[in-house]
């Protein structure tokens, strides 16, 4: 294995840095060489065309943002006939993120993607903007198992289940996904939130609620990632608030085998290739030969004094 190579099941990534779904598209060929990335994760596509939510679709916060974009989608046929051919010239594995309104539709879509030359399907069961009042499949163990299980029987492609930080017991959801045949866990999607402009008294997002992302989400998503790593044996991909190489190190140390970078690309469009270079420099500076040597190496906190039971 090369210095930065990592594996997500049978999928070999040249490096552990990939875009988070929804923050990346073919447009980025104008910014950097897409083969610098570990994988190309596309914006979520639904089987049929979807409009998306009203504007304003984003709002900024101290240290992050919210979006209520809501998966505008040109549908499965457009993906297969128009989008995927544009990515054929890149050697980085292509991961298609999918969503649908029922487990049956998820499965039918997965079946259709079999043989399209993609490396994996990311199963977006956790978008807070698409389901009624923020309810998502990934908040329920049975719904998660139903979607993943039906998709497992419909396709031979690797399935990456993208979970929600809003799940009250994300470890149980991760186990349900693993038990139903998921090949990897992506932890996590955005967290449902809300903002009001106190001067105008108006909601700041057209769809009222939206998904929180950016550096302010990182502690929540890192915690969720760690809980998933402890719960399952399949690989976990960390996602949430990554904006520096130190952030990547944190995710790798708690056991993520790869990471996704999303919101940070809005502020620095070429941040992903920069982080790949910085990760290589950091590994070398620490005398490490593979990124593998860093994964899951987190240790207990510094303070180890055992406190008296009663004070």
């Amino acid at each position: 294995m090369g210095l930065l190579q990592t594996r997500i099941g049978d999928v070999v990534l040249e490096n552990p840095v990939m875009p988070a779904s929804g923050t990346f598209g073919v447009e980025m060929t104008e910014v950097f060489d897409l083969d610098r990335l570990g994988a190309l994760v596309l914006k979520t596509v639904t089987p049929d065309k979807r409009r998306g939510n009203p504007v304003p679709r984003v709002c900024e916060l101290p240290g992050g943002m919210m979006n209520s974009i809501g998966i505008p989608s040109k549908g499965a046929s457009y993906l297969i006939e128009e989008t995927l051919p544009l990515l054929e010239r890149f050697s980085a594995p292509v991961v298609v993120s999918v969503s649908a309104s029922s487990a049956e539709d998820f499965a039918a879509f997965a079946h259709r993607l079999d043989g399209c030359g993609i490396a994996a399907i990311e199963v977006n069961i956790s978008c807070p903007n698409i389901e009624d009042d923020g309810r998502a499949f990934a908040l329920s163990e049975t719904a998660t198992a139903d979607v993943i299980g039906r998709m497992r029987r419909a396709t031979s492609l690797p399935l990456w289940a993208k979970l929600s930080p809003a799940a009250s017991d994300i470890a149980a959801i991760a186990r349900a996904a693993e038990g139903a045949g998921a090949d990897a866990i992506v932890s996590t999607n955005t967290l449902l939130g809300m903002a009001v402009d106190p001067l105008t008294g108006r909601f700041r997002l057209g769809n009222v609620m939206g998904g929180l992302s950016g550096p302010l989400l990182k502690p929540v998503a890192l915690r969720a990632t760690y809980q998933c790593v402890r719960a399952v044996t399949i690989p976990v991909i960390g996602c949430g608030g990554i904006a520096s190489v130190d952030d990547i190190l944190e995710y790798l140390m708690v056991g993520a085998r790869a990471v996704q970078v999303g919101t940070a690309s809005f502020l620095e469009p070429a941040i992903m290739p920069r982080l790949v270079d910085e990760l290589a420099d950091t590994l070398r500076a620490r005398g490490l030969e593979t990124v593998e040597q860093l994964i899951g190496t987190v240790k207990a906190a510094d303070e180890t004094i055992e406190l008296a039971e009663l004070v």
């Binding site: 923050t23 104008e30 910014v31 504007v55 900024e60 101290p62 943002m65 979006n67 950016g214 809005f266």
Partner: protein, 278 residues
């Protein structure tokens, strides 16, 4: 410079035309009580832009905080010989107030050039620019480019009061015929402008419209464009997150290829055909 030549320069620029750089601030001065002009030093790749395109500016930290998003800002001027790029902005919110704190010797973090600029206008003999407020900033480099192509240009500059009228001297220095209208003088209403513009078409041979910065002016020019069969373009504004087409935040509805479609102001625009805008 002309629009077509500028496009060719941009295409030959590099495989990755969208770049990020920290550009030295040369000047950041008030233009009037509400507007400021920010000028930075820029290399050939950054000035390989066309009128109507924009840059995404990172607002500096002010009072310990910086706005999270970048701010899209249309190009007010660029000079490839001198290596300068300038922006005209109105002090409005946290982003522009933070920009106002920059001074000579500081650096401005920019991403760009972004979006589709104004297209070439073959056969155009007399262009009319109608703009209000900061919309004038977007149309200024267009006016200069049109004049250099020996196209006659008339500009209707609209503002609330005479003291915040902008770019009038600049436009006149380039040879643009300027008509000023203000709310104070009661000359900026849609009715007054409609009669004024109809006269410019019928008597002075205006054969192309350009506008930016006002929905009322856009609707007026759409109506007059249909009435006189005159084409044109509009530069639109919309809140953005990424600025390069990935996030789908800045969509607006347009009529294109026989159907209503949502297009990204940052990527398919910010310049659109006048009649496409719904």
């Amino acid at each position: 410079m002309d629009l077509v030549a500028a496009n060719i320069v941009q295409e030959s620029n590099s495989d990755f035309p969208i770049r990020q750089a920290q550009l030295p601030v040369l000047e950041n001065r008030p233009v009037n009580s509400e507007y400021r002009q920010l000028t930075v030093a820029a290399d050939a790749a950054m000035t390989a832009c066309v009128p109507g395109q924009f840059f995404h500016l990172r607002c500096p930290v002010r009072d310990g905080v910086a706005p999270f998003f970048r701010r899209p800002m249309s190009i007010y001027g660029f000079d490839r010989q001198k290596g300068t790029l300038s922006f005209l902005y109105k002090l409005a919110g946290t982003g522009t107030r933070a920009l106002a704190g920059l001074s000579s010797g500081d650096f401005l973090d920019v991403v760009g050039p972004l979006g589709q600029g104004f297209s070439a206008a073959p056969g155009c003999r007399h262009a009319l620019i109608v703009a209000r407020g900061v919309g004038l900033a977007t149309l200024a480099p267009l006016a200069e480019a049109l004049v250099r192509q020996s196209i006659r240009v008339t500009a209707i500059c609209s503002a609330r009061t005479p003291d915040v009228l902008m770019s009038v001297d600049l436009f006149r220095a380039w040879g643009v015929e300027v008509i000023t209208v203000t709310d104070d003088a009661g000359t900026s209403s849609v009715e007054s402008l409609e009669a004024l513009i109809a006269g410019l078409v019928e008597i002075d041979g205006v054969d192309r419209f350009y506008t930016c910065g006002s929905t009322r002016l856009l609707r007026l020019l759409q109506r007059l464009g249909e009435r006189f069969a005159i084409g044109g373009e509009v530069a639109l504004e919309q809140q953005m997150a990424c600025g390069f087409g990935a996030c789908q935040s800045c969509v607006r509805p347009f009529y294109r290829n026989g159907a209503a479609v949502n297009l990204r102001v940052c990527h398919e625009g910010p310049v659109f055909d006048l009649q496409e805008v719904l």
